[in-house]
């Protein structure tokens, strides 16, 4: 296969990953890296570099839309970014000292956990909503526009959310992923922030968190421009198309198929890292 065909096929695969990511809110780094490693035989470190760049691309692209809607909460986002960025720096430093096999196993496990987290039902919390003193001190409580007027919300569980965010940051730096699934758990489950606000704010944070690993990836030679450009452009185009076909797509079915795929890919990544290939 020549470089030209290789790049075109990668761009097509990245495009599909971008479409799926936009449709079911999962994807980007977590799916591109295994596709590059298992499907194209790319070394996992180059794959992680390209995936991380594409994560920043989609996050910035989507942030443009979300910020305009006024749904994301900048205070929550920036406050939690102090945890995710420091975690990401630690994770990226760890990544540069691990070999491809270990990274492959850890990546596979992260895929399996992500699949499990995605299987959870997304329900708004029904617990009685009272203000949390720490959240009030930090002025994290907010409101967001809905079809039936502005809805205000209180933020809870700040220490727990902060710790999970730090772990999400470590995973982001270690594996070159946005770790959006983990961020959503912290905000949605632990901090009990409304789902729409969680999604928009998590998207803002993903790009900033990924940026904290980029310097380390760049210096360690993980960012191969010749691989990054088809991946980043493909994912961007895919995310753009995905957002537009969203109202017509069978999202629920796609999600089920996709989660099954993620589980199979996760197992394969673990086996590959352990030296078992089939």
């Amino acid at each position: 296969m020549t470089e030209a065909w290789f790049d075109i096929l990668i761009a097509v695969a990245a495009f599909l990953a971008g479409v799926i990511g936009a449709l079911i809110g999962l994807g980007g780094g977590i799916i591109i890296t295994p596709v590059l490693v298992l499907g194209f035989g790319v070394d996992i470190r180059y794959a992680m570099g390209a995936a991380l760049a594409s994560v920043i691309a989609t996050s910035s692209g989507a942030a443009a839309a979300y910020l305009k809607d006024g749904i994301s909460n900048m205070r929550i986002g920036l406050f939690l970014c102090t945890a995710t960025t420091t975690g990401a720096v630690a994770g990226a430093l760890l990544a540069t000292s691990l070999n491809a096999k270990v990274l492959s196993v850890v990546f596979g496990i992260a895929l399996l956990v992500t699949a499990l987290l995605s299987l959870r039902k997304q329900e708004e919390s029904t617990k009685k909503d009272t203000p949390d003193p720490l959240a009030q001190k930090l002025r994290l409580d907010g409101s967001y526009p809905t079809a039936s007027g502005t809805v205000s919300y209180f933020v809870h569980g700040i220490p727990g959310g902060f710790v999970v965010m730090f772990i999400a940051g470590v995973l982001s730096g270690l594996l070159g992923i946005g770790s959006g699934a983990f961020k959503v758990v912290a905000m949605d489950q632990i901090m009990r922030i409304p789902f729409k606000v969680t999604t928009a704010t998590s998207n803002f944070m993903i790009g900033v968190t990924a940026a904290a690993s980029v310097g380390i990836y760049l210096k360690s030679g993980f960012l191969d421009p010749v691989l990054v450009y088809p991946v980043a452009l493909g994912v961007l185009a895919g995310a753009f198309v995905g957002a537009r076909i969203m109202p017509y797509a069978p999202v629920k079915l796609l999600k089920q198929i996709f989660i099954t795929m993620v589980i199979l890919i996760g197992i394969q990544m673990v086996l590959r890292g352990a030296g078992i290939q089939f």
Partner: protein, 119 residues
Amino acid sequence: MNDSRLQSILSKLMFYGVLLAAAVMLVGGAIFLFSHGGDRPGDHVFKGEPHDLRDPIAVAQSAIRGSNPAWIQLGVLILLANPFVRVAMSAIGFTIGKDPLYAVVSLFVFAVLVYSFFL
């Protein structure tokens, strides 16, 4: 400056930043394919990128000399600069909005991002 005005400025900035990065990568990638399209792809084995593609200043210098991968890398760097700008703008926005706590929080995040480039 209030929150919604800050968000609307940031949103425009993000949009044009991504557009610019994509355009530079697209042009750089197309030129690359014209000259190297027939080569064998080389990402199967990890060698690490050459040193002139490993830090922002060296990338800019190589791009000026006309190196094609450096041009693509420049597009990649513009893309990666987006979150930096986003956080810096937040720090400015919170400062103007007389919100010292979140100005400091934004500055801390910005400092971590910059620090990561010097590790």
